[in-house]
Symmetry: C2
Subunit: 264 residues, 2 copies
Protein backbone atom coordinates (compact mmCIF):
# COMPACT_ATOMS: atom_id res chain seq x y z
CA UNK A 1 0.00 0.00 0.00
CA UNK A 2 1.11 3.51 -0.71
CA UNK A 3 1.38 5.79 2.25
CA UNK A 4 -0.65 8.87 1.44
CA UNK A 5 0.52 11.83 3.42
CA UNK A 6 -0.90 15.24 2.68
CA UNK A 7 1.66 18.00 2.70
CA UNK A 8 1.39 21.60 1.74
CA UNK A 9 2.53 22.17 -1.83
CA UNK A 10 5.01 24.90 -0.99
CA UNK A 11 7.50 23.04 1.15
CA UNK A 12 7.70 20.89 4.22
CA UNK A 13 7.34 23.02 7.33
CA UNK A 14 10.11 23.23 9.88
CA UNK A 15 7.78 21.46 12.30
CA UNK A 16 7.37 18.54 9.91
CA UNK A 17 11.12 18.33 9.43
CA UNK A 18 11.65 18.32 13.20
CA UNK A 19 8.96 15.69 13.69
CA UNK A 20 10.57 13.61 10.94
CA UNK A 21 13.98 13.97 12.59
CA UNK A 22 12.62 12.94 16.00
CA UNK A 23 10.97 9.85 14.53
CA UNK A 24 14.24 8.93 12.87
CA UNK A 25 16.23 9.58 16.05
CA UNK A 26 13.77 7.54 18.10
CA UNK A 27 13.94 4.69 15.59
CA UNK A 28 17.72 4.79 15.58
CA UNK A 29 17.80 4.75 19.37
CA UNK A 30 15.43 1.79 19.53
CA UNK A 31 17.56 0.07 16.92
CA UNK A 32 20.68 0.36 18.97
CA UNK A 33 18.89 -0.81 22.11
CA UNK A 34 16.78 -3.61 20.70
CA UNK A 35 19.11 -4.98 18.06
CA UNK A 36 16.35 -5.88 15.60
CA UNK A 37 14.21 -2.73 15.69
CA UNK A 38 15.14 -0.23 13.02
CA UNK A 39 13.55 2.82 11.45
CA UNK A 40 11.19 1.76 8.65
CA UNK A 41 13.39 3.14 5.88
CA UNK A 42 16.42 1.04 6.83
CA UNK A 43 15.07 -1.80 4.68
CA UNK A 44 14.65 0.44 1.63
CA UNK A 45 16.98 -0.13 -1.35
CA UNK A 46 20.11 2.07 -1.44
CA UNK A 47 18.61 4.23 -4.20
CA UNK A 48 15.77 5.29 -1.93
CA UNK A 49 17.99 6.37 0.97
CA UNK A 50 19.06 9.99 0.84
CA UNK A 51 21.51 11.57 0.59
CA UNK A 52 23.40 9.25 -1.74
CA UNK A 53 27.09 9.06 -0.80
CA UNK A 54 28.92 11.84 -2.67
CA UNK A 55 32.61 12.48 -3.25
CA UNK A 56 33.73 15.81 -4.61
CA UNK A 57 34.39 15.90 -8.35
CA UNK A 58 36.64 18.00 -10.54
CA UNK A 59 34.36 20.40 -12.46
CA UNK A 60 36.58 20.55 -15.57
CA UNK A 61 36.90 16.78 -15.80
CA UNK A 62 33.12 16.50 -15.38
CA UNK A 63 32.58 19.04 -18.14
CA UNK A 64 34.86 17.11 -20.51
CA UNK A 65 32.87 13.91 -19.95
CA UNK A 66 29.58 15.76 -20.49
CA UNK A 67 30.89 17.28 -23.72
CA UNK A 68 31.86 13.90 -25.15
CA UNK A 69 28.78 12.12 -23.82
CA UNK A 70 26.54 14.65 -25.60
CA UNK A 71 27.57 13.05 -28.90
CA UNK A 72 26.32 9.70 -27.60
CA UNK A 73 23.29 10.45 -25.39
CA UNK A 74 22.58 14.20 -25.84
CA UNK A 75 22.15 16.93 -23.26
CA UNK A 76 20.17 15.51 -20.33
CA UNK A 77 21.75 12.08 -20.11
CA UNK A 78 25.19 13.64 -20.78
CA UNK A 79 24.91 15.76 -17.62
CA UNK A 80 23.71 12.78 -15.56
CA UNK A 81 26.41 10.45 -16.90
CA UNK A 82 29.15 13.05 -16.46
CA UNK A 83 28.51 13.00 -12.70
CA UNK A 84 27.36 9.41 -12.16
CA UNK A 85 30.04 7.68 -14.28
CA UNK A 86 32.71 9.20 -12.01
CA UNK A 87 30.84 8.41 -8.78
CA UNK A 88 30.35 4.86 -10.04
CA UNK A 89 34.16 4.57 -9.98
CA UNK A 90 34.82 6.31 -6.64
CA UNK A 91 31.65 5.37 -4.70
CA UNK A 92 29.98 2.46 -6.55
CA UNK A 93 26.28 2.03 -5.77
CA UNK A 94 23.70 3.39 -6.24
CA UNK A 95 25.41 5.19 -9.14
CA UNK A 96 26.48 1.96 -10.86
CA UNK A 97 22.88 0.79 -11.21
CA UNK A 98 21.14 4.03 -12.12
CA UNK A 99 19.81 3.83 -15.71
CA UNK A 100 21.01 7.25 -16.87
CA UNK A 101 20.89 6.37 -20.58
CA UNK A 102 17.08 6.13 -20.35
CA UNK A 103 17.12 9.92 -20.15
CA UNK A 104 18.16 10.39 -23.78
CA UNK A 105 14.55 11.55 -24.25
CA UNK A 106 15.45 14.85 -22.56
CA UNK A 107 17.06 15.87 -25.88
CA UNK A 108 15.74 18.94 -27.66
CA UNK A 109 13.69 20.09 -24.68
CA UNK A 110 12.09 16.66 -24.25
CA UNK A 111 11.81 14.66 -27.52
CA UNK A 112 12.43 17.84 -29.53
CA UNK A 113 9.40 19.60 -28.04
CA UNK A 114 11.50 22.59 -27.00
CA UNK A 115 10.43 22.63 -23.33
CA UNK A 116 13.04 22.63 -20.56
CA UNK A 117 16.64 22.39 -21.80
CA UNK A 118 17.82 18.84 -21.17
CA UNK A 119 21.00 20.08 -19.51
CA UNK A 120 18.98 21.95 -16.87
CA UNK A 121 16.61 18.97 -16.49
CA UNK A 122 19.57 16.62 -16.11
CA UNK A 123 21.10 18.86 -13.43
CA UNK A 124 17.81 18.77 -11.51
CA UNK A 125 17.76 14.98 -11.70
CA UNK A 126 21.34 14.70 -10.43
CA UNK A 127 20.86 17.17 -7.55
CA UNK A 128 17.58 15.62 -6.42
CA UNK A 129 18.78 12.02 -6.73
CA UNK A 130 21.92 12.72 -4.68
CA UNK A 131 20.43 15.00 -2.03
CA UNK A 132 16.84 13.72 -2.11
CA UNK A 133 13.45 15.35 -2.65
CA UNK A 134 12.30 18.24 -0.48
CA UNK A 135 9.52 16.09 1.04
CA UNK A 136 12.23 14.22 2.97
CA UNK A 137 13.16 17.47 4.70
CA UNK A 138 16.37 18.16 2.73
CA UNK A 139 15.87 21.26 0.62
CA UNK A 140 19.30 21.57 -1.03
CA UNK A 141 18.51 19.34 -4.02
CA UNK A 142 15.54 21.53 -4.87
CA UNK A 143 17.61 24.68 -4.24
CA UNK A 144 20.59 23.58 -6.33
CA UNK A 145 18.13 22.76 -9.13
CA UNK A 146 16.65 26.27 -8.95
CA UNK A 147 20.12 27.84 -8.80
CA UNK A 148 21.12 25.98 -11.96
CA UNK A 149 17.89 27.09 -13.72
CA UNK A 150 18.53 30.74 -12.85
CA UNK A 151 22.25 30.55 -13.68
CA UNK A 152 21.31 28.93 -17.01
CA UNK A 153 18.86 31.74 -17.78
CA UNK A 154 21.21 34.59 -16.85
CA UNK A 155 24.58 33.39 -18.15
CA UNK A 156 26.35 33.90 -21.48
CA UNK A 157 26.39 30.27 -22.60
CA UNK A 158 28.37 28.20 -23.26
CA UNK A 159 30.94 29.07 -20.56
CA UNK A 160 33.07 25.95 -21.06
CA UNK A 161 35.44 25.35 -23.96
CA UNK A 162 36.45 21.68 -24.30
CA UNK A 163 40.12 20.74 -24.46
CA UNK A 164 39.69 19.08 -27.86
CA UNK A 165 36.67 20.76 -29.41
CA UNK A 166 35.10 19.18 -32.48
CA UNK A 167 34.60 22.71 -33.85
CA UNK A 168 37.70 24.87 -33.78
CA UNK A 169 36.03 28.12 -34.90
CA UNK A 170 34.98 30.46 -32.09
CA UNK A 171 31.27 30.00 -31.31
CA UNK A 172 29.15 32.95 -30.15
CA UNK A 173 27.70 32.96 -26.63
CA UNK A 174 24.16 34.08 -25.79
CA UNK A 175 21.98 34.73 -22.74
CA UNK A 176 18.73 32.74 -23.04
CA UNK A 177 16.78 34.59 -20.33
CA UNK A 178 14.86 31.32 -20.14
CA UNK A 179 15.33 27.64 -19.21
CA UNK A 180 13.43 26.58 -22.37
CA UNK A 181 15.34 24.77 -25.14
CA UNK A 182 13.33 26.51 -27.86
CA UNK A 183 14.32 29.98 -26.64
CA UNK A 184 17.89 29.11 -25.61
CA UNK A 185 18.66 27.36 -28.90
CA UNK A 186 16.71 29.92 -30.95
CA UNK A 187 18.61 32.91 -29.51
CA UNK A 188 21.91 31.19 -30.17
CA UNK A 189 20.94 30.19 -33.74
CA UNK A 190 19.98 33.78 -34.46
CA UNK A 191 23.27 35.14 -33.07
CA UNK A 192 25.34 32.53 -34.89
CA UNK A 193 23.18 32.44 -38.04
CA UNK A 194 23.47 28.67 -38.04
CA UNK A 195 20.68 26.13 -38.62
CA UNK A 196 19.54 23.55 -36.07
CA UNK A 197 21.25 20.68 -37.91
CA UNK A 198 24.59 22.48 -38.25
CA UNK A 199 27.63 20.99 -36.56
CA UNK A 200 28.16 24.36 -34.88
CA UNK A 201 24.72 24.28 -33.20
CA UNK A 202 25.28 20.70 -32.06
CA UNK A 203 28.66 21.59 -30.61
CA UNK A 204 27.18 24.63 -28.89
CA UNK A 205 24.65 22.36 -27.16
CA UNK A 206 27.40 19.87 -26.22
CA UNK A 207 29.29 22.80 -24.65
CA UNK A 208 26.14 23.97 -22.83
CA UNK A 209 25.82 20.47 -21.34
CA UNK A 210 29.51 20.68 -20.33
CA UNK A 211 29.04 24.17 -18.85
CA UNK A 212 25.97 23.05 -16.87
CA UNK A 213 27.72 19.93 -15.55
CA UNK A 214 30.68 22.14 -14.50
CA UNK A 215 28.46 24.53 -12.55
CA UNK A 216 26.37 21.73 -11.03
CA UNK A 217 29.48 20.08 -9.63
CA UNK A 218 30.69 23.39 -8.19
CA UNK A 219 27.40 23.60 -6.24
CA UNK A 220 27.46 19.92 -5.19
CA UNK A 221 31.05 20.30 -3.95
CA UNK A 222 30.02 23.32 -1.87
CA UNK A 223 27.11 21.31 -0.46
CA UNK A 224 29.49 18.46 0.42
CA UNK A 225 31.75 20.95 2.22
CA UNK A 226 28.81 22.42 4.12
CA UNK A 227 29.38 25.75 2.37
CA UNK A 228 26.38 25.74 0.02
CA UNK A 229 23.96 28.63 0.23
CA UNK A 230 20.95 28.85 -2.09
CA UNK A 231 21.13 31.86 -4.38
CA UNK A 232 18.03 31.73 -6.62
CA UNK A 233 15.63 34.55 -5.85
CA UNK A 234 13.03 33.66 -8.49
CA UNK A 235 9.60 32.46 -7.42
CA UNK A 236 7.04 33.18 -10.10
CA UNK A 237 4.23 31.58 -8.07
CA UNK A 238 4.90 33.87 -5.12
CA UNK A 239 5.49 37.00 -7.17
CA UNK A 240 2.94 36.53 -9.94
CA UNK A 241 0.43 33.95 -8.72
CA UNK A 242 1.30 31.40 -11.40
CA UNK A 243 4.15 29.04 -12.23
CA UNK A 244 6.30 30.66 -14.87
CA UNK A 245 9.64 30.94 -16.56
CA UNK A 246 12.09 33.77 -16.34
CA UNK A 247 10.72 35.75 -19.22
CA UNK A 248 7.07 36.92 -18.99
CA UNK A 249 7.51 39.67 -21.56
CA UNK A 250 9.20 37.43 -24.13
CA UNK A 251 5.77 36.03 -24.95
CA UNK A 252 3.35 38.55 -23.41
CA UNK A 253 5.09 41.78 -24.40
CA UNK A 254 4.06 44.66 -22.12
CA UNK A 255 0.61 43.14 -21.72
CA UNK A 256 1.32 40.49 -19.07
CA UNK A 257 -2.07 39.17 -17.94
CA UNK A 258 -2.99 39.02 -14.26
CA UNK A 259 -4.01 35.50 -13.20
CA UNK A 260 -6.92 34.98 -10.79
CA UNK A 261 -5.62 35.90 -7.33
CA UNK A 262 -6.77 34.93 -3.84
CA UNK A 263 -9.32 37.33 -2.37
CA UNK A 264 -7.65 39.75 0.02
CA UNK B 1 35.84 4.32 -19.53
CA UNK B 2 32.85 5.71 -21.28
CA UNK B 3 32.23 4.41 -24.77
CA UNK B 4 31.85 7.40 -27.05
CA UNK B 5 29.79 6.55 -30.09
CA UNK B 6 28.68 9.27 -32.48
CA UNK B 7 25.12 8.97 -33.66
CA UNK B 8 22.96 11.31 -35.66
CA UNK B 9 20.78 13.47 -33.46
CA UNK B 10 17.53 12.67 -35.23
CA UNK B 11 17.22 8.94 -34.63
CA UNK B 12 19.21 5.79 -35.01
CA UNK B 13 19.24 4.64 -38.58
CA UNK B 14 17.82 1.28 -39.57
CA UNK B 15 21.37 0.27 -40.45
CA UNK B 16 22.58 1.09 -36.96
CA UNK B 17 19.71 -0.85 -35.44
CA UNK B 18 20.53 -3.84 -37.63
CA UNK B 19 24.21 -3.61 -36.75
CA UNK B 20 23.28 -3.43 -33.07
CA UNK B 21 21.04 -6.45 -33.44
CA UNK B 22 23.75 -8.45 -35.16
CA UNK B 23 26.23 -7.64 -32.42
CA UNK B 24 23.70 -8.72 -29.84
CA UNK B 25 22.85 -11.90 -31.76
CA UNK B 26 26.54 -12.71 -32.15
CA UNK B 27 27.13 -12.15 -28.45
CA UNK B 28 24.16 -14.30 -27.50
CA UNK B 29 25.32 -17.09 -29.81
CA UNK B 30 28.82 -17.03 -28.30
CA UNK B 31 27.24 -17.09 -24.86
CA UNK B 32 25.21 -20.18 -25.59
CA UNK B 33 28.19 -21.93 -27.15
CA UNK B 34 30.93 -20.97 -24.75
CA UNK B 35 29.03 -21.03 -21.48
CA UNK B 36 31.04 -18.21 -19.94
CA UNK B 37 31.10 -15.77 -22.84
CA UNK B 38 28.23 -13.34 -22.78
CA UNK B 39 27.39 -10.06 -24.48
CA UNK B 40 28.93 -7.16 -22.58
CA UNK B 41 25.61 -5.93 -21.28
CA UNK B 42 24.74 -9.21 -19.56
CA UNK B 43 26.71 -8.06 -16.52
CA UNK B 44 24.83 -4.76 -16.35
CA UNK B 45 22.47 -4.16 -13.41
CA UNK B 46 18.78 -5.00 -14.06
CA UNK B 47 17.93 -1.30 -14.34
CA UNK B 48 20.19 -0.93 -17.35
CA UNK B 49 18.72 -3.84 -19.31
CA UNK B 50 15.84 -2.91 -21.56
CA UNK B 51 12.97 -3.49 -21.82
CA UNK B 52 12.13 -3.80 -18.13
CA UNK B 53 9.65 -6.62 -17.51
CA UNK B 54 6.13 -5.21 -17.81
CA UNK B 55 2.74 -6.63 -16.85
CA UNK B 56 -0.40 -4.94 -18.08
CA UNK B 57 -2.05 -2.59 -15.61
CA UNK B 58 -5.61 -1.41 -15.10
CA UNK B 59 -5.76 2.21 -16.30
CA UNK B 60 -8.46 3.27 -13.82
CA UNK B 61 -6.64 1.76 -10.85
CA UNK B 62 -3.44 3.46 -12.02
CA UNK B 63 -5.27 6.79 -12.28
CA UNK B 64 -6.64 6.43 -8.73
CA UNK B 65 -3.14 5.88 -7.36
CA UNK B 66 -1.80 8.87 -9.31
CA UNK B 67 -4.62 11.07 -8.02
CA UNK B 68 -3.86 10.22 -4.38
CA UNK B 69 -0.10 10.28 -4.82
CA UNK B 70 -0.33 13.83 -6.19
CA UNK B 71 -1.17 15.01 -2.68
CA UNK B 72 2.07 13.44 -1.43
CA UNK B 73 4.63 13.84 -4.23
CA UNK B 74 2.92 16.06 -6.87
CA UNK B 75 2.47 15.52 -10.59
CA UNK B 76 5.64 13.95 -11.98
CA UNK B 77 6.43 11.54 -9.17
CA UNK B 78 2.70 10.71 -8.87
CA UNK B 79 2.63 9.42 -12.47
CA UNK B 80 5.85 7.42 -11.95
CA UNK B 81 4.69 5.94 -8.64
CA UNK B 82 1.24 5.10 -10.00
CA UNK B 83 2.86 2.73 -12.50
CA UNK B 84 5.93 1.58 -10.58
CA UNK B 85 4.21 0.89 -7.22
CA UNK B 86 1.96 -1.66 -8.96
CA UNK B 87 4.79 -3.24 -10.95
CA UNK B 88 6.81 -3.46 -7.75
CA UNK B 89 4.06 -5.77 -6.45
CA UNK B 90 3.54 -7.86 -9.60
CA UNK B 91 7.07 -7.85 -11.06
CA UNK B 92 9.45 -6.72 -8.28
CA UNK B 93 12.78 -5.37 -9.53
CA UNK B 94 13.88 -3.04 -10.99
CA UNK B 95 10.68 -1.18 -9.99
CA UNK B 96 11.16 -1.83 -6.25
CA UNK B 97 14.51 -0.01 -6.24
CA UNK B 98 13.77 2.91 -8.53
CA UNK B 99 13.86 6.18 -6.53
CA UNK B 100 10.65 7.71 -7.92
CA UNK B 101 10.18 10.10 -4.99
CA UNK B 102 13.32 11.99 -6.07
CA UNK B 103 11.20 13.34 -8.94
CA UNK B 104 9.08 15.56 -6.70
CA UNK B 105 11.07 18.39 -8.31
CA UNK B 106 9.01 17.98 -11.50
CA UNK B 107 6.21 19.87 -9.68
CA UNK B 108 5.00 23.12 -11.18
CA UNK B 109 6.78 22.59 -14.48
CA UNK B 110 10.09 21.80 -12.73
CA UNK B 111 10.48 23.53 -9.33
CA UNK B 112 7.63 25.92 -10.16
CA UNK B 113 9.41 27.23 -13.26
CA UNK B 114 6.39 26.50 -15.47
CA UNK B 115 8.27 24.46 -18.11
CA UNK B 116 7.06 20.98 -19.08
CA UNK B 117 4.07 19.75 -17.08
CA UNK B 118 5.34 17.22 -14.54
CA UNK B 119 2.67 14.71 -15.56
CA UNK B 120 3.95 14.69 -19.15
CA UNK B 121 7.57 14.56 -17.93
CA UNK B 122 6.72 11.67 -15.58
CA UNK B 123 5.06 9.78 -18.44
CA UNK B 124 8.21 10.21 -20.55
CA UNK B 125 10.33 8.87 -17.70
CA UNK B 126 8.10 5.81 -17.25
CA UNK B 127 7.91 4.98 -20.98
CA UNK B 128 11.66 5.41 -21.52
CA UNK B 129 12.67 3.52 -18.37
CA UNK B 130 10.46 0.54 -19.25
CA UNK B 131 11.10 0.38 -23.00
CA UNK B 132 14.56 1.94 -23.05
CA UNK B 133 16.10 4.91 -24.86
CA UNK B 134 15.99 5.16 -28.65
CA UNK B 135 19.79 4.77 -28.86
CA UNK B 136 19.31 1.09 -27.94
CA UNK B 137 17.27 0.65 -31.10
CA UNK B 138 13.82 0.50 -29.42
CA UNK B 139 11.85 3.54 -30.51
CA UNK B 140 8.54 2.92 -28.70
CA UNK B 141 9.54 4.64 -25.44
CA UNK B 142 10.34 7.80 -27.37
CA UNK B 143 7.16 7.42 -29.44
CA UNK B 144 4.87 6.82 -26.47
CA UNK B 145 6.40 9.90 -24.84
CA UNK B 146 5.63 12.00 -27.93
CA UNK B 147 2.10 10.56 -28.15
CA UNK B 148 1.45 11.55 -24.53
CA UNK B 149 2.79 15.08 -25.18
CA UNK B 150 0.49 15.54 -28.17
CA UNK B 151 -2.53 13.96 -26.43
CA UNK B 152 -1.84 16.24 -23.45
CA UNK B 153 -1.75 19.30 -25.71
CA UNK B 154 -4.92 18.46 -27.66
CA UNK B 155 -7.22 17.01 -25.01
CA UNK B 156 -9.84 18.63 -22.77
CA UNK B 157 -8.13 17.96 -19.42
CA UNK B 158 -8.69 16.49 -16.94
CA UNK B 159 -10.38 13.45 -18.51
CA UNK B 160 -10.42 11.35 -15.34
CA UNK B 161 -12.73 11.90 -12.37
CA UNK B 162 -11.56 10.10 -9.22
CA UNK B 163 -13.91 7.78 -7.34
CA UNK B 164 -13.66 9.81 -4.14
CA UNK B 165 -12.73 13.30 -5.28
CA UNK B 166 -11.51 15.78 -2.66
CA UNK B 167 -13.50 18.46 -4.51
CA UNK B 168 -17.10 17.50 -5.23
CA UNK B 169 -17.96 20.55 -7.38
CA UNK B 170 -17.63 20.05 -11.13
CA UNK B 171 -14.29 21.40 -12.37
CA UNK B 172 -13.96 22.92 -15.85
CA UNK B 173 -11.84 21.21 -18.49
CA UNK B 174 -9.49 23.03 -20.85
CA UNK B 175 -7.28 22.33 -23.85
CA UNK B 176 -3.75 23.58 -23.18
CA UNK B 177 -2.50 23.48 -26.78
CA UNK B 178 0.89 23.11 -25.10
CA UNK B 179 2.86 20.71 -22.89
CA UNK B 180 4.00 23.64 -20.70
CA UNK B 181 2.76 23.84 -17.09
CA UNK B 182 2.53 27.65 -17.24
CA UNK B 183 0.15 27.58 -20.22
CA UNK B 184 -1.82 24.48 -19.19
CA UNK B 185 -2.38 25.72 -15.64
CA UNK B 186 -2.91 29.32 -16.78
CA UNK B 187 -5.63 28.40 -19.27
CA UNK B 188 -7.42 26.31 -16.67
CA UNK B 189 -7.14 29.05 -13.99
CA UNK B 190 -8.63 31.57 -16.40
CA UNK B 191 -11.54 29.24 -17.31
CA UNK B 192 -12.19 28.34 -13.67
CA UNK B 193 -11.39 31.79 -12.28
CA UNK B 194 -9.49 30.13 -9.46
CA UNK B 195 -6.06 31.13 -8.08
CA UNK B 196 -2.99 28.90 -8.13
CA UNK B 197 -3.20 28.12 -4.42
CA UNK B 198 -6.91 27.19 -4.52
CA UNK B 199 -7.93 23.67 -3.61
CA UNK B 200 -9.74 23.48 -6.94
CA UNK B 201 -6.55 24.17 -8.95
CA UNK B 202 -4.64 21.62 -6.90
CA UNK B 203 -7.34 19.01 -7.46
CA UNK B 204 -7.40 19.82 -11.17
CA UNK B 205 -3.67 19.09 -11.36
CA UNK B 206 -4.11 15.86 -9.34
CA UNK B 207 -6.75 14.82 -11.89
CA UNK B 208 -4.45 15.75 -14.80
CA UNK B 209 -1.79 13.46 -13.29
CA UNK B 210 -4.46 10.74 -13.00
CA UNK B 211 -5.64 11.31 -16.60
CA UNK B 212 -2.07 11.19 -17.90
CA UNK B 213 -1.27 8.00 -15.98
CA UNK B 214 -4.48 6.45 -17.36
CA UNK B 215 -3.56 7.23 -20.96
CA UNK B 216 0.08 6.21 -20.48
CA UNK B 217 -0.98 2.77 -19.27
CA UNK B 218 -3.37 2.38 -22.21
CA UNK B 219 -0.37 2.91 -24.53
CA UNK B 220 1.96 0.66 -22.52
CA UNK B 221 -0.66 -2.12 -22.53
CA UNK B 222 -0.96 -1.84 -26.32
CA UNK B 223 2.83 -2.02 -26.60
CA UNK B 224 2.86 -5.13 -24.38
CA UNK B 225 0.22 -6.71 -26.64
CA UNK B 226 2.24 -5.84 -29.76
CA UNK B 227 -0.60 -3.57 -30.91
CA UNK B 228 1.04 -0.17 -30.31
CA UNK B 229 1.32 2.19 -33.24
CA UNK B 230 2.86 5.65 -32.84
CA UNK B 231 0.35 8.40 -33.51
CA UNK B 232 2.17 11.71 -32.91
CA UNK B 233 2.66 13.62 -36.14
CA UNK B 234 4.38 16.64 -34.60
CA UNK B 235 8.01 17.35 -35.43
CA UNK B 236 8.80 21.01 -35.00
CA UNK B 237 12.46 20.50 -35.94
CA UNK B 238 11.52 18.89 -39.25
CA UNK B 239 8.69 21.30 -40.07
CA UNK B 240 10.11 24.55 -38.73
CA UNK B 241 13.85 24.06 -38.38
CA UNK B 242 13.86 24.50 -34.58
CA UNK B 243 12.75 22.53 -31.52
CA UNK B 244 9.40 23.87 -30.39
CA UNK B 245 6.16 23.31 -28.58
CA UNK B 246 2.74 22.92 -30.03
CA UNK B 247 1.84 26.56 -30.08
CA UNK B 248 4.06 28.89 -32.13
CA UNK B 249 1.42 31.62 -32.39
CA UNK B 250 0.63 31.63 -28.66
CA UNK B 251 3.84 33.58 -28.16
CA UNK B 252 4.73 34.83 -31.64
CA UNK B 253 1.25 35.85 -32.86
CA UNK B 254 1.12 35.93 -36.65
CA UNK B 255 4.75 36.98 -36.80
CA UNK B 256 6.46 33.60 -36.36
CA UNK B 257 10.15 34.19 -37.09
CA UNK B 258 12.04 32.03 -39.57
CA UNK B 259 15.12 30.42 -37.99
CA UNK B 260 18.36 30.13 -39.98
CA UNK B 261 17.85 27.25 -42.43
CA UNK B 262 20.32 24.98 -44.23
CA UNK B 263 21.39 26.28 -47.63
CA UNK B 264 19.41 24.55 -50.38
Amino acid sequence: MLKIDRKEEQGVSRRQVLVGTSVFAAGAALGSLGGMIRPAHASEPAMKKWPWPYRKLDPARTAEIAYNEWYRVFCGAAVINAVFSQLKETVGEPYASFPADAFVFLEGGQLGWGTICGSAAGANIVANLIIGPRITGATEGHEIGADVMQWYSETELPTYTPKKPKITATLPTTISDSPLCHISVGRWMKAANKPLKSKERKDRCARVAASTAYHLVELLNRWKDGDYEASSDFSCAKENGITGQYNCMDCHGDNVPQPPMPKA
